[in-house]
């Protein structure tokens, strides 16, 4: 059984690799074009898009209209630009060994 279970071990996993790339959204948050691999779940794209559009609208309500948002996490940078009433969003995974500009970090 041990041998069989090794061969027939369920291969599916929820672990998602963060890709680099971009996608565009219409005003309703629907994904129009996308350069990200299909393995990246569409629900994630929609969630990102929804939060970005919400923030653009919220900023407008606060009398702070914005055309670009840069969201920095420890392991990911999102760059969103307003396109009409939609948006284009870039995903840029960050690495411990790289500076935000993509160059390798210098260690003392």
């Amino acid at each position: 059984m041990g041998l069989l279970s090794r061969f027939f071990k369920p291969a599916e996993t929820a672990l998602v690799h963060l890709p680099s790339g971009s996608f565009t959204l219409d005003r309703d948050g629907e994904v129009m074009t996308c350069t990200l691999p299909q393995s990246f779940p569409e629900e994630h794209l929609k969630a990102i898009g929804q939060h970005v559009l919400t923030s653009f609208r919220s900023a407008k309500r606060a009398q702070l209209p914005l055309t670009e948002l840069s969201i920095q996490y420890s392991a990911l940078k999102l760059l969103a630009r307003e396109l009409g009433s939609g948006a284009i969003i870039f995903l840029m995974p960050q690495s411990l060994n790289k500076e935000p500009n993509g160059k390798l970090k210098k260690h003392p």
Binding site: V16, A59, P65, L76
Partner: protein, 366 residues
């Protein structure tokens, strides 16, 4: 926490669990009690019901993956030590795991030497009780570390990180010669760094070319700093005296924090600053805004949404959000227990804005 350390192993491979449970429980000097589970949900349930010192997680798990488990475990059990032990050799997952707050990231050992190193590191983690302080040297405060370095006549550079803010203390032959924070240096930077309540630090090689700006002995510096921190604490305890019927804006201007906001805004060409407390109902401090309500809503909503998104994508802590528009540039960031929204004029360049925002976050954190 019980005297005998307790370790929880999470992996979907039963052979692996059996092997490592035996190795850890029988070959570590601290003789920990080792429990094992094969799913993330079971691991979280066990963590909720029993105390553990250390959780060892494989990332590649069906249904709930290791990063999800780490996210939830870190949030619900902040003092739990977390170790990733995985077969995945991927720089991105390593980065994301560290962003989620793991203590160590190990590729599953393939040789006896690697196994020996892994066992040593686990022993080191579980044999010390978790305590508050600066990570890097357990159970030592920053004052202790500076005293140790100075007493031993060392020369080194201490790099201290608090959130996004990075400070450096330069020590030459047992004397503090300079301290540095973004935008400031000297004794004031030293005092600000020492007022940080937590963070992490590392020791870097000395910088002999560093120009000396601090001439007080390290004992004097530590005394002055302790005095300044005590005075600040006693001022915070005193209620602000506000004239009855004063307008909300006037109330804010009288507070100590509003003074800080005004000071920072003067020096950095900032248009407005809004500081929010951790609770929705908490009093705001603001400067340069006639009506802070819509900006408050924007700040809270934006931070809340993107924090939730970060949890969902498992990409670690939300550090900051920078917005650019035709009339304003805006920086939004969590800063300790507060949330800050800072407005800049559109003419400010991206680099100037980033530096200025970082400077402000540093002052705020101090």
């Amino acid at each position: 926490m019980p005297a005998q350390p307790r370790i929880l192993l999470l992996d979907d491979d039963q052979d692996f669990l059996d092997l490592y449970r035996e190795m850890l429980s029988q070959h570590l000097p601290s003789a920990p009690e080792v429990r094992s589970v094969n799913s993330g949900s079971r691991a979280l349930a066990l963590l909720d019901s029993e105390p553990f010192n250390l959780l060892v997680v494989e990332l590649n798990l069906p249904k709930m993956d290791g990063l999800q488990v780490l996210t939830l475990a870190r949030r619900k059990h902040p003092h739990l030590r977390l170790v990733v032990l995985t077969a995945i050799r991927d720089e991105q997952f390593r980065t994301r795991a560290y962003a989620l707050g793991v203590d160590q990231y190990w590729i599953k050992p393939e040789t006896d030497q690697e196994m020996g190193l892994f066992m040593e590191s686990i022993e080191a983690l579980v044999s010390r009780e978790s305590q508050a302080g600066f990570r890097g040297v357990q159970s030592k405060s920053l004052v202790d570390i500076i005293q140790l370095e100075c007493l031993s006549q060392s020369s080194c550079t201490l790099k201290i990180t608090n959130g996004q803010t990075e400070g450096k203390i330069y020590i030459q032959s047992g004397e503090v010669v300079d301290a540095e924070l973004p935008g400031t240096e000297g004794e004031s930077s030293f005092q600000r760094i020492l007022s940080w309540k937590n963070g992490s630090f590392e020791t870097l090689p000395p910088d002999p070319s560093r120009v000396r700006t601090i001439f007080t002995s390290y004992q004097g510096l530590l005394l002055n700093t302790a005095q300044a921190i005590d005075e600040a604490a006693s001022q915070e305890e005193q209620p602000a005296s506000v004239a009855p019927g004063a307008a909300p804006n006037a109330v804010n201007q009288t507070s100590r924090i509003a003074g800080l906001l005004a000071e920072v805004s003067q020096s950095d060409g900032i248009e407005f600053i809004l500081a929010l407390g951790p609770k929705t109902s908490q009093t705001q401090d603001f400067w340069g805004l006639d009506n802070p309500k819509p900006v408050t809503e924007f700040t809270r909503e934006t931070l809340e949404n993107f924090r939730a998104l970060g949890d969902r994508l498992q990409v670690g802590e939300l550090q900051q959000i920078i917005g650019t528009g035709p009339q304003h540039k805006v920086g939004v960031a969590p800063c300790g227990q507060s949330e800050l929204c800072v407005g800049f004029p559109p003419a400010v360049t991206r680099e100037e804005m980033r530096d200025s925002f970082k400077h402000l976050l540093t002052k705020w954190a101090s």
